[in-house]
Each structure stands twice: as C-alpha cells, then as structure tokens.
C-alpha cells in the first residue's frame, strides 16, 4: 500500500486577471522528505507555496495536508494546521518592531506554549542551534546582516518544532558561502525535527543541497518530478535547459525589446 503523502495537491488553479499562473497543478510531497520545486521567475512557484500556506486562495483544486483538505477548513482549524508549519520567507520577514529573541519566540508566545519569562532562554537556545550567540537576542533585526537575519528567520521557523517546513528561495540575496551555510543549517534542522521540507528556488546549487526530490514547474503545471541525484539526466528538455541555465531551449522568457 502506498504511503499517504504529507501534502497532496490536485487540480490547483489560480489566475490573476487574464494571466493563468497555476493550471490544474498536481503534486505529492512525501512525508519526512525534502522536496524542492524549481522553475523560472514568474513560473508560479511563489503562488504555489502561498496557496499551500493559505495566504492566497486558489480558484480551483484541493490541497490536502495529512489527508485533510485545508481549503475546506474553518479558520480555527486552519490555524491549528498552521501551528504544525514553519515557514522561512525569502526576505526573512522578521518583525522589525520586536527584538530578535521575541521574533524567534513569537510562535511559542502566540500559541501560549510558554510564558515570556520562559520564552527568552528558549529563544537563546534556538538561536544557538542556528549558530547565533546570546548577544544578538536583544538586537533589532535591522542591526543584523542579511545572513544573520536569515538564520534568525530559520530559528523562528523551527522554534515550535514544526511537522512541515516551507522555504521560499532560502539563499536569495546571500553570497555563495552564506548560501551554503544556510542550506546546511536547513538540512540539519529538518533532519533533527524529522520534518517534511518543501522549498521553492531557482538556485540549482541550493536545490541539490537540500532536496531529496525535485519537481519542476512550468506553464503553471509540474512537468517533471524525480530524485535530486537524477536531475542532470532527467531526459526532459525543459529541466535540462533550466539546469544548464541556457537561453537556448524550449523555455522562452518574456523579454520585451
């Protein structure tokens, strides 16, 4: 018997005006594995992840998490599902009105999992797990470098020990070394939590570091799914072009001259 996927998406469609961004998209994300969705700019990666997180309402289709259709849930049920989710946003999305430790402990405090008195030392512990010292705990996010902000955002995402972790372009805006460090932290933390990881990126080096399975989105649909190790021998001309980063091939970018 096949294992139920952690996330199961069927017939997902979303259009903005005349532009159809997702078109009857189907995808299964296996439990306890790292899936990375790759695709060019404007291919619908961000819309896909926002639909799964409930930040955008799709026009049609179903999204099941642990076998339950999250699109048909009440707001309170949806919030309960979100409680088992951690999300790392592309630009970190740290709350700049709060110090670092409150950012990290935000989910713990919001879900009444602990008091403010207990949350601070716990936040410092979690910061240590992503390689940051206690000295940053009281700083404002704006006082941190891009790489440090990303680490704090990762600390916030893992703080409540989520079942599923989402990563939106985790290495965007970082130099290659810091990108590799963030990827290593992601792999380490996901493994430690035994979580399912779902990432979107157009950074192939990052995809290969954090993925067990890679899926490619193009034209609003998933056009290829396979093991990360096999991506260079996919036999799919779209995937081949994307992996090579070539302007020649079936993918035509919209460029106005």
């Amino acid at each position: 018997m096949r294992e139920t996927p952690k996330i199961r998406i069927r017939g997902l469609s979303k259009a903005f005006g005349p532009k159809r961004v997702l078109d009857q998209l189907d995808l299964d994300v296996p439990a306890g594995r790292g899936m990375v969705v790759i695709g060019g700019s404007g291919s619908g990666k961000s819309v896909l992840i926002k639909c799964i997180l409930g930040l955008i309402e799709p026009d049609a289709g179903t999204i099941e998490i642990d076998g339950r259709n999250v699109l048909a849930m009440s707001r309170s049920d949806r919030e309960a599902v979100n409680a088992q989710i951690g999300m790392l946003f592309q630009q970190g999305a740290l709350f700049d009105s709060l110090p670092v430790w409150e950012n990290v402990a935000f989910g713990l405090l919001a879900r009444r999992m602990m008091t403010r008195r207990d949350a601070r030392p716990r936040a410092v512990e979690i910061l240590a797990q992503v390689g940051l010292g206690a000295d940053v705990a009281d700083l404002s996010p704006s006082e941190l470098s891009g790489g440090m902000q990303k680490r704090v955002a990762l600390a916030r995402a893992i703080a409540a020990r989520p079942d599923i972790m989402f990563f939106d372009e985790p290495t965007t805006g970082l130099d290659p070394i810091m990108g590799a460090i963030i990827d290593a932290l992601i792999v380490e933390q996901v493994k430690r939590l035994g979580a399912t990881a779902f990432s979107i990126t157009h950074d192939m080096a990052s995809a290969q570091r954090i993925a067990d399975t890679v899926a490619m989105i193009h034209g609003g649909r998933i056009i290829w799914v396979g093991p990360a190790a096999a991506i260079r021998e996919s036999g799919n001309p779209y995937v081949d072009q994307f992996v090579r980063g070539s302007s020649e091939g079936p993918i035509k970018m919209e460029v106005r001259r």
Binding site: E79, A83, M87, Q90, Q91, A93, L94, F95, F106, A110
Partner: protein, 261 residues
C-alpha cells in the same frame, strides 16, 4: 452624442470605484469590530498604541489648541467690536473650541501624525511579508495589528480633545486678559455662563468617531498596500487624505444630530 456618453461612462466608472472602495472599507471595519470582542486579546499592544497615539500626540494637539484659542479670541474681538459686542468673546471661544475646533483640529493633526504612521507601518509589513508571517505563526493580523490601533485611537482621542478644550480656552483667556484687557473673573464667568454639558459631550463623541476613522483608514490603506516603497507612500497619502475628508464629513453629520433644531 458620443462625447456625452463618454462623459456619463466616466462619471459612472468613478462612482462605481467610490462605492466599491466604500464597501471594502465597511467590510474591513465590520471584520475588525467583530474581532474586538473575541479573544485572544493583546493588552500589551493596546497599551503601546495608547502611548503612541495618545501620549505622543499631546504636544502637537496642545500647541494647536492653544494657538487656535488665542487667534479665535483676537479675531472675535476685532469682529464683535464693530457691534459693541466684545463681551461675547469668551462665550464664542469656549463654544467654538468645545463644539468644533477642539475635536476637528485635534482629529486633523492626529490624522496627519498617527494615520500616516499606521499606514506606513502596516504597509511596510505588508510588502515585506511580515503580515503573511503572522498568519503562518497562527496569529490573526486583524487581532494583532488592527484591533489594538482602532481601540486605542477610539479611546484616546476624546482624552486628547478634553486636553485641547482646556488649553484652547486657556489660550483665549491669555489673549483676552493680557492683550484685550478683560477682567480675569469676568472672562471666566462669561466662559462658564453659556457652556452646557452637551457642548463638551458632542465634542467628545466627535473625537471618538474621528479616532476610529483615523485608525481605520490608516489600517485599511496600510493593510492593502502593494507595490513596494511607492505603494507604501501611496497608502500613507491615501490614509491621511481619506481620514481628513471623512473627519470633516462626519463632523457635519454629528453636529446635525446634536444641534439641528
């Protein structure tokens, strides 16, 4: 004929856009109000907003009120002197301040200071995904961001206006006594003589409504801003302009409700 049809179509489009925006604001307000009475509550955030909106607006509101009272005394004196009615200066000052100038000027000053700040803060949070981050952290942004601001503004505006009323009358008193040579006792007696509870109360009701409007428009514009820095700038401008227009509109409506014969 075509030109007339084009003109009618343009008017229709504009009217439709205004009605659509009014509907969207009304729905936003209804959703926000529905969250006011439902837990979780954020008393720490409410207190911070009370300080931000109320305490830190005191200097600007106080200065506006004092100078308005002073100039009102001066202008009414020069006007009334033509009819030998200088004795009415104190009454005109206190009624104008408590009924109109106190709430309206405080409302407009706070709209500029606080409405803009709310729209800019929420707008920046929107375009940097911080509002989305709240949702993924099981926190309802309406409860966490909008409700504390709306409740705080509705509560503190009447207090600010009460301060503005006192300082506005004081401004008039200073000019009346030290520049226009009124006897202090006579001036104060004239101030109290025709002042009724309803004059002050109507001003405080106006202030509560204006506070609600300022926070609502700031939150609405910021919450729905898009398009990066330019979008945040547009949201800030729209928040101040729409709040100011609504303040003047509701000022007339409330005056009509209280004082129409």
């Amino acid at each position: 004929m075509n030109a007339v049809l084009d003109l009618l179509a343009a008017i229709g489009r504009s009217l439709f856009a205004v009605l659509s925006a009014a509907g969207a604001v009304a729905i936003f307000a209804a959703v926000a109000l529905s969250h006011v009475v439902r837990p979780p509550f954020y008393p720490r955030l409410l207190l911070r907003q009370v300080l931000d909106i109320g305490y830190f607006s005191l200097p600007v509101v106080a200065l506006t009120a004092v100078f308005s009272g002073m100039v009102l005394a001066l202008q009414s004196y020069t006007g009334f002197a033509r009819f030998s009615a200088e004795g009415a200066v104190a009454t005109v000052v206190v009624l104008s301040i408590t009924r109109e100038l106190g709430p309206v000027l405080a409302g407009l000053m706070v709209a500029g200071r606080v409405g803009a700040a709310i729209a800019a803060e929420l707008g920046t949070m929107r375009v940097t995904d911080q509002i989305d981050a709240l949702i993924t952290l099981s926190t309802n942004p309406m409860k966490y961001l909008v409700v504390p601001r709306i409740v705080a503004a509705t509560l503190v505006l009447p207090m600010l206006v009460l301060v503005a009323d006192i300082l506005g009358v004081l401004g008039g008193f200073v000019v009346g006594v030290f520049k226009l040579d009124f006897h202090p006792g006579t001036y104060m007696a004239r101030t109290w003589e025709y002042l009724e509870f309803q004059d002050v109360f109507s001003g405080l009701v106006k202030a509560a409504v204006f506070g609600f409007i300022i926070a609502l428009m700031g939150c609405y514009q910021g919450y729905h801003s898009k398009g990066g820095a330019q979008g945040v700038g547009a949201a800030t401008t729209n928040a101040v302009v729409s709040a100011s227009i609504l303040i003047l509109t509701f000022n007339y409506i409330i005056t009509e409700l209280f004082f129409a014969r």
